[in-house]
């Protein structure tokens, strides 16, 4: 399906994921369009990483569909993966490689043209402050340095959609600021960003759209202004948490039906 101006970058339609009898995420629908920085928030175990891993093709799912730039991730996963890049919550990467080996590996696999590789690697590594460490083994990197390397590897092929799971964890303030700038630039160029975070202040300032997931169900979604109304995002989230405390556990019910 050719990408037109109106084709959303990411469409999730009635998504459902089960682990055995347990329903982890049910009937979740959302759309991310070009230029969006979309924040995805929820408590621990709400289903954020479950959805993200299904979008990037790291995990199968049972119901609904996911499309990236109009490509169904189940029907044509390779074409869908070409359009996106993923930064997981834990930057577990090949510790036996050096930083530059990892980046050239990603560039080779995503077939990044030779003439732009040096410029992109130098630019991103310089901005995130690890240019001087690229010759060292990844095994000697700190958590934050690995996180930066994974982010650079994700940006090299200029993906349409950036998927990030808790991207700011472990980053120093300077790198965190640079990453926000990079995400803004990416969205401004017509790309889209979809990321999960527990840092509500960051989501509130950075994102133009927000979705809140609770126990596997989407409870709020829309522009950041719509979702928070007159309150802060934290107030809205805490208010939902109180409702949550009073409500029965629906997502984990054995039969998977709505309570």
């Amino acid at each position: 399906m050719p990408l037109t101006r109106k084709t959303p970058i990411l469409t999730v339609d009635r998504f459902e994921k089960r682990y055995g009898d347990k329903v982890a995420v049910r009937n979740l629908t959302l759309t991310v369009e070009a230029g969006d920085i979309y924040g995805f928030i929820g408590h621990n175990g709400a289903g954020k990483t479950t959805l993200i891993r299904s979008i990037v093709g790291a995990q199968p799912f049972e119901g609904g569909s996911i499309g990236v730039c109009g490509v169904d991730v189940t029907a044509d996963p390779v074409a869908a993966k070409r359009q996106l890049a993923y930064v997981p919550d834990n930057p577990d990467i090949y510790t036996f490689m050096t930083g530059i080996q990892y980046l050239t590996f990603m560039a080779d696999v995503f077939e990044v043209p030779r003439d732009v590789r040096e410029e992109r690697i130098t630019s991103f590594a310089g901005r995130l402050g690890i240019l001087d460490d690229l010759a060292s083994p990844i095994g000697s990197y700190s958590h934050g340095m690995r996180q930066k390397l994974v982010v650079i590897g994700a940006l090299l092929h200029k993906p349409k959609l950036l998927i990030l799971d808790e991207p700011f964890v472990g980053l120093d303030p300077v790198a965190s600021h640079e990453l926000k700038e990079i995400l803004h630039e990416h969205a401004a160029r017509g790309g889209a960003v979809f990321f999960s975070s527990h840092v509500l202040e960051v989501v509130e300032k950075l994102c133009n759209k927000v979705a809140i997931i609770r126990k596997g169900e989407l409870v709020r979604a829309g522009t950041t202004d719509e979702v928070r109304g007159d309150d802060s995002l934290e107030d809205v989230f805490l208010e939902l948490a109180e409702v949550d405390a009073a409500a029965p556990d629906r997502a984990s019910s054995e039969d998977g039906r709505h309570a």
Partner: protein, 547 residues
């Protein structure tokens, strides 16, 4: 003491967890394989002891048992100290506990010691059983057995902790430490193998002409070597054979005092030792030109994946040790056969001193040449890196599963990274033997085709199994490299195929002619390789690489 036992329990749980198989089917297979292996070891050590008795070296058995226990202590501690005693993931957590450092170190050393003792007991028990049954069933022998089994690994465990620390400390200073470590170890193992092979060949050559006096001298020399090589072994030998209580007391005292001193040194320097290991080897920054050079080289995606597979093998030492030694073994055997000559194997026209005719010699020579491909097939199945190559990705598997590449490319790269060097090594080995006139052209083709066929079928079965149910949550690479189900499939299945194939070849060579048998095994090799390709293509269709 309460804290000591709490910490010791945690350590023993961690060690036992590292030996636990990943899934139920793998677990059942691992238990069976473990029992079979233990029985083989038990039987082998028992036969060794009987052999020692039969050549008049019965009194060397107690010392030999101590030596075996000591070796078990050295090997186990050397392999496990890094990660158990130092370089540990939970160092900060443990050191923050309100428990004296001496207790922490003692608990960790004791866990290593207890495990080494169990391993040593498995090896030494058959020796002692034979000694008690055939040589001397006395109280002193029984006491010697108990003391030896319990204390033999104590001194070596203490020494090995320092050696393991030294090696780890040196390795952590090199950027390519794993590669250096790997090369040195492979060279060491090769030297050991060549030494043993050379000695065995020399001993066989000498056996016909050896006199009784020489035999007596040899026995005395062997006993002397044992005593000089490991003095505690001599003490135990003297304690049991000469009924020397003094020697027994000296053995016990040494086995307690030396580890005690080692423990004290270790605990006093524990913080400094771990700080030394935490120092990371960092490279200098790349110059602009170096960066341009490195980013200017491009590879096709499959070539990049194959290179990544090789880097994985070199980057994980236990993966390399388990999967690379077979390559070296093939070359060593090819060179050894070229130097010694297949004719020597057929004993140059005489078997056990009985002359054979020219026809019989030709037949025997053809039979040995036909069995040779199975020897290389055996070596080839000891290089099964592709079989666990999905699981070995561990927590980094998200990288592969999110790449925009089909399963065929990803699995193909894993298979190619293994199959190409195996085929190349088989070909080089065949050419060496062909060039030196040890085998003919058909024999050389058979070495490559049969060796590769057996390898290819079983490694693709292993890879398919690994891609279907990978174990990505392993705690140490050994969980998948040594105890993984796919590796067991390759090794046990391949071993069965080699055994059956060699027996069939033998029967066919005897029933028909060596040429007919040669052609038959050539066809079989091609069939196995074809079957392997079918397994691989099926695995590619079924695998979705969604871990």
């Amino acid at each position: 003491m309460r804290n000591f036992f709490i910490l010791l329990r945690v350590q023993l749980l961690a060690l036992s967890h590292s030996l636990k198989p990943g899934n139920r089917s793998g677990g059942a297979l691992a238990v069976i394989a473990g029992i079979v292996l233990a029985l083989i070891i038990f039987l082998y050590m028992g036969l060794v002891a009987i052999g020692l008795v039969s050549i008049g070296l019965a009194n060397a058995i107690p010392g030999f048992a101590v030596l075996i226990g000591a070796l078990a202590g050295v090997v186990f501690t050397f392999l496990k100290a890094n990660g158990t005693l130092f370089g540990l993931a939970d160092f900060d957590l443990v050191m923050a506990l309100p428990i004296p450092r001496r207790i922490v170190v003692a608990a960790r050393v004791s866990a290593l010691y207890a495990s080494a003792t169990l391993l040593g007991a498995l090896l030494a028990a058959p020796l002692w059983a034979v000694y008690l049954a055939l040589v001397d069933f006395s109280v002193m022998s029984f006491v010697g057995m108990v003391v030896s089994v319990l204390l033999a690994p104590a001194i070596p465990t203490a020494i090995a902790t320092f050696v393991a620390f030294g090696v780890s400390a040196v390795a952590s200073r090199f950027r390519h430490a794993n590669l250096v470590y790997l090369i040195v170890s492979l060279v060491g193992f090769s030297a050991l193998f060549i030494g043993l092979y050379g000695f065995s060949f020399w001993a066989q050559a000498q056996s016909d002409s050896i006199t009784a006096a020489q035999m007596e001298g040899g026995i005395a020399f062997a006993s002397d070597l044992l005593s000089r090589g490991w003095p505690p072994a001599a003490l135990m030998g003297s304690a049991v054979a000469d009924r020397s209580l003094g020697a027994l007391a000296a053995f016990v005292a040494l086995s307690l005092v030396i580890p005690g001193i080692a423990l004290e040194i270790m605990q006093r320097n524990y913080l400094a030792i771990n700080a030394a290991l935490a120092g990371r080897a960092r490279a200098r920054a790349l110059t602009a030109r170096e960066l341009r050079d490195r980013t200017g080289r491009t590879s096709a995606p499959i070539a990049a994946l194959i290179m990544k597979e090789y880097r994985t093998q070199i980057g994980i030492p236990s993966y390399a040790f388990n999967c690379l030694f077979g390559y070296l073994l093939m070359l060593i055997i090819a060179v050894a056969i070229s130097v010694v000559g297949l004719d020597t194997v057929v004993t140059s026209g005489a078997i056990n001193g009985v002359d054979i005719s020219a026809d019989q010699y030709a037949s025997a020579s053809g039979l040995v040449a036909n069995l040779l491909p199975w020897v290389f097939a055996f070596c080839a199945i000891t290089c099964p890196s592709a079989a666990c190559s999905v699981s070995i990705e561990g927590r980094s598997a998200w990288v592969t599963s999110t790449l925009p590449l089909p399963a065929r490319t990803i699995l193909g790269a894993k298979l190619a990274a293994n199959a190409v060097p195996v085929a190349a090594t088989l070909a080089i080995s065949a050419v060496i033997m062909l060039a030196t006139g040890q085998i003919d052209v058909l024999g050389a083709i058979n070495v490559v085709v049969v060796g590769f066929g057996v390898f290819f079928l079983f490694v693709t079965i292993g890879l398919a199994s690994d891609a279907r149910k990978p174990n990505l949550t392993w705690a140490t690479p050994n969980d998948v490299v040594k105890r993984g189900f796919p590796i067991m499939v390759v090794v046990l299945g391949g071993l069965a195929a080699v055994t059956v194939g060699a027996m069939a070849t033998f029967a066919l060579s005897m029933a028909t002619t060596p040429l007919v048998a040669s052609l038959a095994i050539l066809a079989l090799g091609l069939l196995l390789a074809g079957a392997g390709w079918l397994v691989f293509t099926r695995a590619c269709r079924r695998t979705r690489l969604m871990f």
